[in-house]
Symmetry: C2
Subunit: 406 residues, 2 copies
């Protein structure tokens, strides 16, 4: 070792916010589950069987064809706002859901996760109060944490945050910067807000002057009927809306979007520019090419049908194997996840090693809580296993629970 | 308008850092220059003629081929650290330049701009002192600004920051979090630190315990000889190094990287995860496919030759047309930019409308200064115009200067 390589103590002075950052708890947990041959219900990944490889191949070939007028522009620096074709598509799709949005309000982001980062930068000061569901999406907690908010968990039930709970939390402290909500097939619980709940939440937020950050990565993955209109449609000027191509095309493209009220858009744009200049133009152009002729109208129903069958398999297997064990679980009407609550006294994290030994893996629920976790909870993804694997996996999980309660 | 759409005053409470964010001055300036038919030397874009469209087309086809084992993985969520093949490539390339780097120290980022954002999040508190060159890369000022540093400009000459100037600035205030340096063909000036300057800077930084953030987007674009070894090679544990594929392949892919000392790497990784989970896996896989058989060894020399001829054309045209006008300019030995200083009393920004009327555009230098700007300065890019256009453009610029000094 060159003497000049010796660590110089105190050389690097970390920012205060860096102390608050932590390795993803889930990431560490998932390492435990990466044993070969294991039936893995722990991930948050969409099924790779749904990735439109052929359509991507054709789109790349078209964009990069000899003489293609978009080849070089797709490889050059591009605008921070995003490709006009995609911004128009987002506005049109939201229009179909009752939200009147101009393409000028759409900011294409490097995955929906970046939208959360930009929102945090623009709206959170150290110590700002931010309201979240109980439990909530872990990636949002991670995205917000570097800006050092104080999280407050709003009591929630199988229909999302409780309106009375939200009112109570609002009365208990200073005005929060926003409430972060996932109305459709929420990660991690799979729950959905019905239309009445949405109306009541929006009415309260409007009355109290509480902005909403609405995150909707799963909304297209409904099984029997589309979910009610988004919160954005009910309160255009009080909602920042986040969407994603990750679950309807492929997450490896890192394509998401933020829809913001005109008053806020310029600040989010400046934060975007500072963060990575713009979302990869090549990816935007390829996706615009993939979706231009109504491809998603044909493709997304195939994802819905697949996940629907898997959801059915999981609910049936849980009903079959958990009978009499005092276990509860959600009944998702879309999305990717079922949320399980074990009987009182059990701890999901403590059961994980036994489950892995038995041949299956789940994610303990604790990391999804911003405040006091419910240690009995765990999340199961039903989208990357076959119905037969789901049947076997749930039998294994039931065996582990049976062992623990006996 | 629905009454519910009416703006609710004070609904959105911006974070303090959002007040500090501003629209890019350059972006606003560039709008002035977007007149059709104008000879545009204002941009910071690489020449699209250098984009390897055919290689990209073949790589996309290979990655997405029927039965390709990497097709679906390239479209799935991926690791935050980056694709192992790219991390190994970066470490190997830096090894050739004398820097002993492990692939574990390499973090693939969504463009080099994201590297600056992550560095800012991990190292800058509100009020932290950060040292920069005079002038410096505007995008870095934009990336750092949201974390609210106090910038101090280090006096700089045609060889980069002055060592005595750096010592003086260090003595004048509290210890800075880092000094941000672009040793090779700097944006905006085109200047390069020679080996002696690098040694002296590193010696002083090591003595004073001042970490270095070394930004090297242009290093491969040398004309006659490669630049001296990077600062990273001279002080591995005191330097964060940023690199990019934007100038040697294409910026629309948004692929860059950060090389960090092992002590710092985990915090940058956590910041990366929070920012966008990971850099698009598809882009990483395609680039790994493009570069795997030594493509860059054949491709980059063609970029060098092209930019070299354009640099020659610009220096010759400046010498021819500016004779006797009291104008000075840099003599870049690589990169994309020449930096021009007009005679005392002239203001580059004030001359821009006349230049645009004459048929050419440049970027005024003022936005590149963190503190007091030199209003006489301007930046010219020589890489997106032909030698003939460069000749005409410099004649136009000289005409405008002649008009102004007469």
């Amino acid at each position: 070792m060159n003497p000049n390589d010796r660590p110089q103590p105190g050389l690097w002075h970390l920012a205060e916010r860096a102390q608050a950052m932590n390795p993803s708890a889930i990431r560490e947990i998932l390492k435990v589950t990466e044993r070969p041959g294991i039936l893995n219900f722990a991930g948050g990944l969409p099924s790779p069987e749904t990735f439109p490889v052929a359509a991507m191949r054709e789109a790349c070939a078209a964009v990069l064809a000899e003489g293609s007028p978009v080849a070089k522009p797709s490889l050059q620096y591009a605008s921070s706002e995003g490709l006009p074709e995609l911004r128009q598509w987002v506005a049109a799709e939201l229009g179909k859901q009752g939200a009147r949005v101009s393409p000028e309000q759409v900011l294409i982001t490097t995955g929906s996760q970046q939208g959360l980062d930009l929102v945090a930068k623009v709206l959170i000061d150290a110590g700002s109060r931010v309201l979240v569901e109980t439990p909530t999406y872990l990636g949002a907690l991670q995205a917000f944490t570097p800006m050092q908010p104080r999280f407050a968990s709003v009591p929630s039930d199988e229909g999302g945050v409780s309106v009375q709970g939200l009112r109570d939390v609002l009365q208990k402290g200073e005005r929060p910067r926003f409430v972060y909500l996932l109305p459709n097939f929420q990660n991690p619980t799979g729950r959905t807000q019905d239309a009445a709940r949405r109306e009541a939440i929006v009415a309260l937020c409007r009355e109290q002057g509480l902005p909403i950050v609405e995150d909707n990565p799963y909304g297209e993955l409904w099984f029997d009927a589309p979910p009610p209109a988004p919160l954005l449609a009910r309160w255009p000027e009080g909602v920042i809306y986040l969407g994603s191509f990750s679950k309807i095309l492929a997450p490896g493209l890192r394509l998401g979007y933020v829809v913001a009220p005109p008053a806020l858009y310029p600040k989010l744009l400046q934060a975007k520019q500072a963060a990575d200049l713009h979302t990869p133009g090549f990816n935007q152009r390829v996706v615009a090419e993939v979706i231009k002729d109504g491809f998603l109208d044909r493709h997304v129903p195939t994802i819905r049908a697949r996940y629907h069958a898997q959801r059915d398999a999981m609910l049936a297997a849980l009903a079959r194997h958990m009978a009499g064990l005092g276990v509860q679980w959600t009944q998702p009407v879309g999305g990717m996840f079922v949320w399980v609550t074990l009987p009182a006294g059990l701890n999901a994290q403590a059961l994980l090693p036994a489950a892995v030994d038995a041949g299956m893996a789940f994610v303990p629920g604790a990391p999804f809580y911003a405040e006091q976790p419910d240690a009995r909870t765990l999340r199961l993804s039903f989208v990357t296993a076959t119905p037969e694997q789901i049947e076997r996996g749930m039998a294994m999980l039931a065996g582990v629970v049976r062992q623990a309660v006996s």
